[in-house]
């Protein structure tokens, strides 16, 4: 069986499994569509949250970004897990006690304002749509590879699959499907990592192998990696090379964004009790940590494998890999399969029959390059998003592992895209149309508008995904910045302050959203349209603060504006203060109520 057939088998059978489960547990009523009838155990809920959470960004993209930058991209690891602490301590139990279906319902009721609810809906839609763009980037990479087509074609096919999949059922279907997806994606992520860790370090636990010794040389793996990458003019893998302020703000943005994203928060509405909401956040992080502890090992080991593959004769002095070897040696087949997607390329610039891979941006390398006759880096394109999917091929693992990883990558992208589309559709149909524009809408009309909203969201995301503002995880990081600046502060103030009033909250959310969105558009192009940007992240508007890190500043603006405006306007009514008091106490949490 050739690799294409194996991939098709793994992807096909995993899809058949998800769709089977979706049909078996199909959503009937509106309340089931949104919140799965509230009968979900904390462990099950945690696993489904983990699948929902770990998207193309975590599965496909993150390890690649870490691999090529090393320590400086640790922000992704800390940020996307540290947010769960905020979620568990500051939001989940209270929102569950409040007992409504959506985040914007809470904001609308707590700030006794239809405007606040609509503003929250707008914030959610902006953040979620940006998030879906990142997912579509990952979907394009995964489908492009496994169907062996160009990236753009892969993206269009993927978009159709995601849409069909999300329309199928509501959250109940999705909850059990996502448990299955979690199992597929964690297996797919871990198995190749175990193989590679065994090959390189002899340790079957990749997270430990990362800090273990390299079998070939006997030195620590990271020491060896540092040595071979610095020899080629790249930054040392383990040293801090990035700006500290930007790293702190970026990590913080990812953390508070995690706690402000609607599709994750919605999960905590579906557990039976307040005490379960606390446990659920913990279980979710257990299942997430299984991947996040492995990811840095995947990144470091892949970097080592790739670099050694480009310099197979013992580093710079042994000479680079020959073009002929890439053409003929089956070990290098992966380079050809990925070349087809347009995401990997190489070019023998100096015509010496070899491909030199080194950092040609490093001035220190110039002397060596001219001495050896190198004419610039010849591994001309290596898209970071291909690293995890290509990893088993690079390490020469058996065909079934490669097929499994393809299935896992798609599971990650699909489950999150489906969860986000659900959040967008409920924001539009439940909060905007039923809650504000036309309260008399029938249940059937509500479901129909939910599905229409999904179709529009995926259309926009696919269009923008064709020219994404960054690698999958970077685009997703922008979405987190937006959620951090708009939703998280409003929820925090709604629970921990009885003082902040309707006008304050609305002004805060708008200020946070607008300032962050403008900062992002200034650096990434207006509405993410390429070449409409005035600044770049390499040379940002404010000091060293990149657009991906601005969410934390946006959140600070949100808090400041909300408190200032509250101080100047009418006090919060007593009935709302009582509502806040009651949210703080678990007793009396009934089942959630629809409007």
């Amino acid at each position: 069986m050739d690799q294409f057939t194996i991939n098709l088998f793994f992807v096909g059978s995993s899809f058949a499994l998800y769709i089977g489960i979706a049909i078996w547990a199909r959503a009937g009523s509106t309340s089931e569509f949104y919140a799965a009838g509230r009968g979900v155990h904390p462990v099950t809920n945690g696993m489904a949250t983990a699948a929902d959470w770990m998207s193309a960004a975590s599965f496909i993209s993150m390890a690649g970004l870490i691999a090529f930058t090393g320590y400086d991209n640790s922000s992704y690891l800390m940020g996307w897990t540290g947010g769960y602490v905020l979620l568990a301590l500051l939001l989940a139990p209270y929102l569950r006690k409040f007992g409504k279906f959506t985040v914007s319902e809470f904001i609308g009721d707590r700030f006794y304002s239809q405007t606040a609810r609509i503003v929250a809906v707008v914030c959610l839609i902006v953040a979620s749509t940006t998030y879906v763009i990142g997912q579509m980037t990952g979907v394009g990479v995964a489908f492009g590879r496994f169907l062996e087509v160009e990236n753009t074609t892969g993206l269009l096919i993927g978009a159709c699959v995601v849409f069909a999949y999300a329309v199928f059922g509501g959250m109940k279907g999705v909850t059990y499907t996502q448990v299955a997806q979690y199992v597929v994606l964690i297996t797919a992520y871990t198995i190749p990592a175990i193989f590679i860790s065994l090959q390189l370090t002899g340790n079957p636990v990749p997270g430990l192998g990362l800090f273990g010794n390299d079998v070939a040389s006997g030195e620590p793996l990271l020491t060896k990696l540092n040595q071979i990458v610095t020899e080629l003019g790249f930054n040392s893998y383990t040293s801090s090379n990035a700006d500290t302020l930007n790293m702190v703000l970026f990590t913080l943005s990812l953390m508070i964004g995690t706690a402000g994203l609607p599709h994750v928060i919605m999960r905590f509405f579906t557990v039976p009790k307040v005490s379960d909401a606390r446990w659920s956040a913990g279980w979710a992080l257990v299942f997430i940590a299984l991947l996040y502890i492995t990811a840095p090992a995947v990144g470091a080991m892949a970097r080592l494998n790739i670099t050694e593959m480009m310099w197979p004769n013992g580093g710079v002095n042994g000479g680079a890999v020959a073009v002929e070897q890439i053409e003929k040696d089956p070990k290098y087949d992966w380079m050809h399969t990925w070349q087809k997607t347009g995401l990997l390329n190489w070019e023998d610039k100096n015509g010496d029959g070899k491909i030199q891979y080194y950092n040609d941006k490093n001035a220190d390398m110039e002397t060596l390059a001219s001495e050896k006759g190198w004419a610039g880096n010849e591994l001309t394109k290596f898209n970071r998003d291909i690293l995890v999917l290509a990893n088993p091929e690079i390490a020469n693992l058996p065909g079934w592992v490669i097929g499994l990883v393809a299935a896992g990558g798609l599971a990650a992208a699909l489950s999150t895209a489906a969860g986000l589309l659900l959040a967008i559709s409920s924001a539009v149909s439940h909060d905007l149309i039923k809650g504000a524009i036309k309260p008399s809408i029938s249940e059937k009309g509500e479901l129909l508008s939910a599905r229409l909203a999904m179709a529009v969201a995926i259309g926009v995301a696919t269009y923008l995904g064709l020219n994404p503002p960054g690698f999958a995880a970077q685009t997703v990081a922008l979405a987190f910045g937006l959620a951090a600046a708009s939703i998280f502060p409003a929820l925090m103030m709604g629970i921990f302050s009885t003082r902040v009033n309707n006008t304050g909250a609305v002004a805060g959310m708008l200020a946070g959203l607008v300032v962050t969105l403008v900062y992002i558009f200034l650096h990434k192009g207006w509405f993410f349209i390429p070449d409409t940007n005035s600044f770049t992240d390499a040379d940002p508007l404010l000091g060293t603060i990149k657009s991906t890190s601005f969410g934390a500043i946006g959140a600070a603006v949100n808090f400041a504006v909300a408190y200032t405006v509250t101080g100047m306007t009418k006090e919060t009514p007593q009935v709302i203060k009582d509502l806040v008091e009651s949210v703080r106490i678990p007793r009396g949490a009934g089942a959630a109520q629809d409007h």
Partner: protein, 86 residues
């Protein structure tokens, strides 16, 4: 439902636990993982230093411990103050 002073005591106990937890949360990530990394550079872990380990793995393990501690502690606090769900 319990009276107001008991509710206030419950809430301030909760706030105290949250504050302690968040101090630890910030210390292991922003502290050991980023800002205080130079201070930990003397402690080596498998080819690198303790700060690198905290940034890539250690902080995540501590986050887990914080959440489970909080869930356990709060569910007990609910009962102590008689505000748990029936």
């Amino acid at each position: 439902m319990s009276d107001n002073s008991s509710k206030n005591a419950y809430w301030s106990a909760n706030m105290r636990i949250i504050k302690i937890s968040l101090v630890i949360w910030a210390l292991v990530s922003f502290g050991f993982g980023i800002l205080l990394r130079p201070l930990l550079s003397g402690i080596s872990v498998g080819g690198t230093d303790l700060g690198f380990w905290f940034a890539q793995q250690g902080s995540i393990l501590v986050f887990l411990a914080i959440i489970f501690f909080y869930a356990w502690r709060m569910n007990r606090l609910d009962r102590e103050h008689g505000v748990e769900e029936e």
